[in-house]
């Protein structure tokens, strides 16, 4: 399986804050902290690059594939049929990528916005790959 991936849906949002990449699932209220190599891989993977082609060495590409599988298991990315973008510089993975899951804000984030389920076609609902 050498496919690419994309962010699993509009509930998954992310932003970089001075080098810290924060990913948030608005449907579950879970948020995620990535270390620098995790953040670099996140960017490349969500741009559609195939994880197995991302590393500078076979070991690094294996690490990238394992990381993509972890992101997929967390419901943050899904396989994508979209064309893979042009090749990019391999990523030298200096430390193993990591993603930490936090749910201390979940109940508050899920309670906060007004859910207009009629207008938003079923939102809130879990991304299909969660659970």
């Amino acid at each position: 399986m050498g496919m690419g991936f994309q962010v699993s849906g509009p509930d998954v949002v992310y932003e970089s804050f001075g080098g810290d990449l924060v990913v948030l699932n608005l449907a579950t209220g879970q948020y995620f902290g990535l270390n620098p190599s995790g953040a670099e891989l996140w960017t490349a993977i969500t741009e559609g690059h195939r994880p197995r082609e991302l590393g500078a060495t076979p070991e690094e590409s294996q690490m990238a594939e394992a990381f993509a599988a972890e992101l997929q298991a967390l419901g943050l990315i899904v396989p994508s049929e979209a064309a893979v973008p042009a090749t990019r510089q391999p990523i030298a993975i200096s430390e193993p990528p990591s993603i930490e899951v936090y749910d201390d804000l979940s109940d508050l984030i899920v309670a906060d916005p007004i859910h207009d389920t009629d207008a938003e076609a079923g939102w809130p609902k879990m991304p299909e790959n969660v659970g």
Binding site: V13, E15, L105, A111
Partner: protein, 226 residues
């Protein structure tokens, strides 16, 4: 137990009258109502001022709902504070129930209730989705708690200010008590600050999550030092 009601309001002329009527109709009446008009260019302040003699209106340049709420709490003289958005509605026994709960709870508790959503313009207040209401419109607490937690900060996008403040309160050990009864009606109003998904406004939640990450790192650092 005497309580004050803080209402941050921005261009809420179409809804704040109904909010104020529901506050004034409480079975245990408030001692004061503090409306912070956060840079409105409509009749919000006039409608609020005309609604009752116990209403004080503070006008300010637009700062966002969090700082506007903080200002109202700072101006309040009552020992107990309840907050409500300028478009939501309290059911008549809301404060009676929550004051009773607060009087039996640990002093630093934050007391909430359940709320039910309703569509703006509809008179059907019974059919909407019900949820545990950990929002501004449900919150009741002792004013002294506010000084311990600090101001409510407005993240970019003006969304998530209460998520941030409530998270800080919980980290500081304030117990959360959510009454298992619908006491608040939350208005579905397309275009309002909390309505639906909005890519720009939802960035506020990301900023709040980042702040929580930074606090967590700080705590871990302090634990290592100890």
């Amino acid at each position: 137990m005497s309580y004050g009601v803080v209402i941050p309001a921005h261009n809420a002329a179409g809804t704040i009258g109904e909010t104020l009527r529901s506050v004034l109709a409480q079975s245990v009446a408030p001692a004061e109502i503090l409306v912070v008009d956060d840079g409105s260019d409509d009749a919000t302040a006039e409608i609020a001022a005309d609604s009752s003699g116990i209403v004080r209106v503070f006008r300010q340049e637009n700062t966002g709902p969090g700082l506007a709420t903080s200002r109202g709490i700072a101006e309040a003289r009552s020992p107990i504070i309840a907050t409500v958005d300028a478009d939501d509605i309290w059911l008549p026994e809301k404060m009676e129930r929550q004051l009773a709960a607060l009087s039996k709870a640990p002093p630093r508790s934050l007391v909430f209730a359940r709320h039910r959503q309703f569509s703006h313009g509809s008179q059907d207040f019974t059919a909407g989705e019900e949820r545990p209401g950990m929002t501004r419109s449900d919150l009741v607490f002792r004013k002294e708690v506010f000084g311990q937690i600090g101001d409510i900060i407005d993240p970019v996008g003006n969304r998530g200010d209460m998520v941030d403040w409530l998270a800080r309160a919980r980290e500081a050990g304030c117990p959360f008590i959510v009454l298992d009864e619908v006491l608040v009606l939350r208005r579905i109003l397309p275009g309002s600050l909390s309505y639906g998904k909005d890519r720009e406004r939802d960035r506020g939640y990301l900023a709040v999550a980042h702040r929580a990450l930074e606090r967590r790192r700080q705590r871990m650092k302090e634990e290592r030092i100890e």
